[in-house]
């Protein structure tokens, strides 16, 4: 569906970019499976033990949120559950207090990937220039299309619904930044079309947080400068922004507030890193739970090695990520002279990284990451200057 290296039009040409975002994607996929739950608050984020059971009379029995005990986080929730204050990444126990009667379902990523493929293939028939932004959202470059934007958006939505039975929201704007904001404006099942002329009336009144790239910390810093809306940001002195936020981010803030974004729709990209991580059933300590941790690390390295092999990459930088019981996160990377791919090599490097972390606190998460990726056949094409010979070549 994706064409490697297909060209995008020059930034100066008038562009038409769509952001297509599936509505409550995981939850909606689950509702396809359990349609009688439609209209009820449903939370995805349980383990397989929370899967609904059908009795011999054909009645489904669900786990209610109030019965949840554990340390998981909410993967996503239906709009009805969101109305009760349950959002993704919230601790499931906390969510259970807000919505004790909501239904809990386990996440089924294989199913989500399946539906992700379905909707992307359906979209590709209409608009082949797709930038994949994850399992449930894509950018589309519609600049070469002749139909008007609303018609195009309807075609896209219809194709998605026909292929999957799911709804999505589409934002169409002159660039990715605005398209992304747009797709949020009329969710769920919405269409929003925006031009630069609409900027003052439709975008500027919004909070700066609506801009993808302004997170809680930047928003806090902006608020301290008296900037809360995008209009205030747009009116703020560009030079002053540079001083407060540094050259790169300050410049970006100014441009974003004026709806300027020249990033092309990247239809093909190499992954920057591949990682595997796991949250433990209970917090583990490097000393008392050494054996268990070691097993977990070995398994992660095996899976990461398999990922690399399947995707055809070798890695020159292996890193680890630890989240401790107080939720603070530590990462360590090691750059290697020679690229690695096998689980044993990854494990060795990961252990080197672990040595550099003080492990006197309990941990709740361990992850292993391979970055500085390249294809093995690219290695031989690298510049051949300063090549140190090896004594044990071929061993």
């Amino acid at each position: 569906m994706m064409q490697p290296g297909s060209d995008s039009p020059p930034a100066s040409a008038a562009r038409r970019i769509a952001h297509l975002d599936m509505d409550a994607f995981y939850a909606s996929v689950e509702l396809l499976r359990y349609p009688h739950l439609r209209g009820q608050p449903v939370v995805i984020g349980g383990r397989s033990t929370h899967a609904p059971v059908q009795d011999k009379d054909g009645n489904w029995h669900y786990t209610r949120m109030r019965d949840y005990v554990g340390r998981g986080v909410v993967t996503t929730s239906t709009y009805e559950a969101r109305a009760l204050g349950v959002f993704s990444a919230m601790g499931t126990m906390k969510a259970a207090r807000l919505a004790p009667d909501a239904i809990l379902l386990p996440a089924d990523f294989d199913a989500y990937r399946h539906y992700s493929g379905l909707f992307k293939r359906a979209v590709a028939v209409i608009a082949p220039d797709i930038e994949d932004r994850g399992i449930d959202e894509i950018y589309l470059d519609l600049s070469s299309h002749t139909e008007d934007s609303v018609t195009l958006a309807r075609m896209l939505k219809q194709a998605v619904t026909q292929a999957t039975g799911l709804t999505c929201s589409v934002g169409i704007a002159p660039n990715k930044l605005l398209a992304k904001i747009c797709s949020e404006l009329d969710k769920p099942d919405g269409i929003t079309v925006l031009t630069h002329a609409d900027l003052p009336t439709r975008i500027w009144p919004m909070s700066v947080r609506k801009i993808n790239g302004i997170g809680p910390k930047a928003a806090e810093k902006l608020a301290a400068l008296g900037i809360e809306t995008i209009a205030q940001l747009a009116a703020y002195d560009a030079q002053a922004l540079l001083q407060h936020f540094g050259r790169s981010y300050g410049d970006w803030l100014h441009r974003a507030a004026h709806g300027i974004d020249d990033r092309p729709v990247v239809t093909y990209s190499e992954p920057k890193s591949i990682s595997r991580e796991t949250t433990f059933e209970r917090d583990l300590h490097a000393r008392q739970d050494r054996a268990a941790l070691s097993d977990i690390l070995i398994r992660l390295c095996e899976r990461l090695g398999a990922d690399l092999e399947r995707k055809g990459y070798v890695s020159r930088t292996i890193g680890i990520k630890l989240r401790f019981s107080d939720f603070h996160i530590v990462t360590r990377d090691i750059s290697l002279d020679a690229p690695v791919q096998t689980p044993a090599e990854i494990l060795h490097a990961a252990r080197e990284c672990l040595k550099r972390v003080p492990l006197d606190q309990r941990m709740r998460l361990l992850g292993v990451r391979a970055s500085a990726l390249c294809h093995p056949d690219q290695l031989e094409q690298m510049p051949q200057r300063y090549v140190q010979g090896d004594l044990f070549d071929g061993e």
Binding site: V340, Q388, L391, F392
Partner: protein
């Protein structure tokens, strides 16, 4: 009632001996501690990182009750270093804390129970006992230790290959780019024993051995090696792995001989190295009749050139190396002259001490 009373130096020296391997931050807090044990008149300091264990004994008539405690190695040695040379130091047990007194200074240190200190289980499966003068072992190690790999993914290279065979002790180290070999004749006849000693053990051993004729006793067991010399006993685990076949990489067909004064070449290389590429450290050696030209340049296109007159009559050769690999061998050998035996541009060079079969150094060239 004090546990112990002694002059500062009588405590600092054995403490310093064992603290080199003690990691300051470790998952097991007790590993940052030193075990101090008094039995009869003998006082023993022990440090460990679970791979190596070093114990240093003093038997200078310590009186009083026997005791055993563990206390932060770093803090105790910082304290002892900071108080005057000849000060008399007193240790007192203060309800699970150690009070260190010297003159008008007084320090209270946390302790951890001596019973929790992890001492290496001694492997009793003894395979060979070697004896040699400390100074001889130190000199041997000096000829090879610099070529050990450091944090190599091929973990078995991060150490020293230690081999007894017949009447010989053979030591081999390599990082995959260069290899150092040294051997010595021992008294006695030994079965073939091959172990890989961790890099840290070798560096610590090299540091602690004295240039004296007093004996070091080496006991090779199944998965452990023990070195006993003077008042020091080192137990080291061995690295589990297969060391590469070093004999296979000793070049046999090299035919271009260069005899050179070590110090002359060393000085020339040190000067040239100033302008070698900082990352790759490349140096070009251009050999022609009677002259070796040494060329370095860096990223800024700055250049250094040295010329040394030598007795070279082989075919001309223009070959590159990592200059550090050449400097290492030249700095660590205390000999007048060295023989370099080159092959072609892509094959390894052999460095020998003239008329001495007990040392070999092999370096792979670098394409520059």
């Amino acid at each position: 009632m004090p546990l112990l009373q002694a002059e500062r130096d009588a405590l600092l020296k054995p403490l310093a001996t064992v603290t080199g391997i003690v990691e300051r931050r470790h998952t097991l807090p007790i590993l940052s501690n030193v075990l101090i044990r008094k039995e009869g008149e003998t006082l023993t300091f022990t440090g460990t990182d679970l791979e190596i264990q070093i114990a240093s004994q003093q038997s200078e008539g310590f009186s009083g009750e026997d005791f055993a405690i563990t206390v932060s190695a770093k803090k105790l040695s910082d304290i002892l270093r900071a108080i005057p040379d000849r000060a008399v130091v007193t240790f007192e047990d203060n309800e699970g804390r150690l009070t260190v007194k010297a003159g008008k200074s007084r320090f209270q240190l946390q302790t951890l129970p001596a019973g929790d200190f992890p001492t290496l289980a001694v492997d009793t499966n003894l395979r060979a006992t070697l004896r040699m003068p400390q100074g001889q072992l130190k000199a041997l190690l000096g000829r090879v230790q610099y070529a050990m790999a450091h944090q190599d993914i091929r973990y078995y290279l991060n150490g020293l290959f230690f081999v007894t065979e017949g009447s010989h002790l053979k030591l081999v180290s390599t990082d995959g780019h260069r290899l150092a070999f040294a051997s010595a004749e021992l008294e006695g006849n030994f079965d073939k024993n091959e172990v890989i000693l961790p890099r840290k053990t070798i560096l610590e051993l090299y540091k602690l051995l004295a240039e004296v004729d007093d004996e070091v006793v080496i006991e090779i067991a199944g998965n452990q090696v023990k070195f006993a010399f003077g008042s020091i006993v080192i137990h080291s685990k061995v690295v589990d792995g297969k060391f590469p076949d070093y004999q296979r990489v000793i070049p046999q067909n090299n035919d271009k001989f260069l005899k050179i004064e070590r110090q002359v070449l060393l000085s020339a290389l040190q000067r040239a190295a100033i302008l070698s590429n900082e990352k790759f450290r490349g140096v070009r050696l251009v050999l022609t009749d009677g002259v070796i030209k040494i060329l370095c340049n860096n990223n800024e296109q700055e250049e250094a050139q040295e010329e040394v007159e030598v007795a070279y009559t082989g075919a001309p050769l223009d070959i590159g190396f990592n200059i550090q690999y050449l400097l290492d061998v030249l700095t660590n050998l205390q000999v007048e002259t060295l023989d370099f035996v080159f092959g072609d541009v892509t094959s390894s060079v052999l460095v020998n001490i003239p008329d001495n079969e007990n040392f070999k150094y092999i370096v792979m060239p670098m394409r520059i």
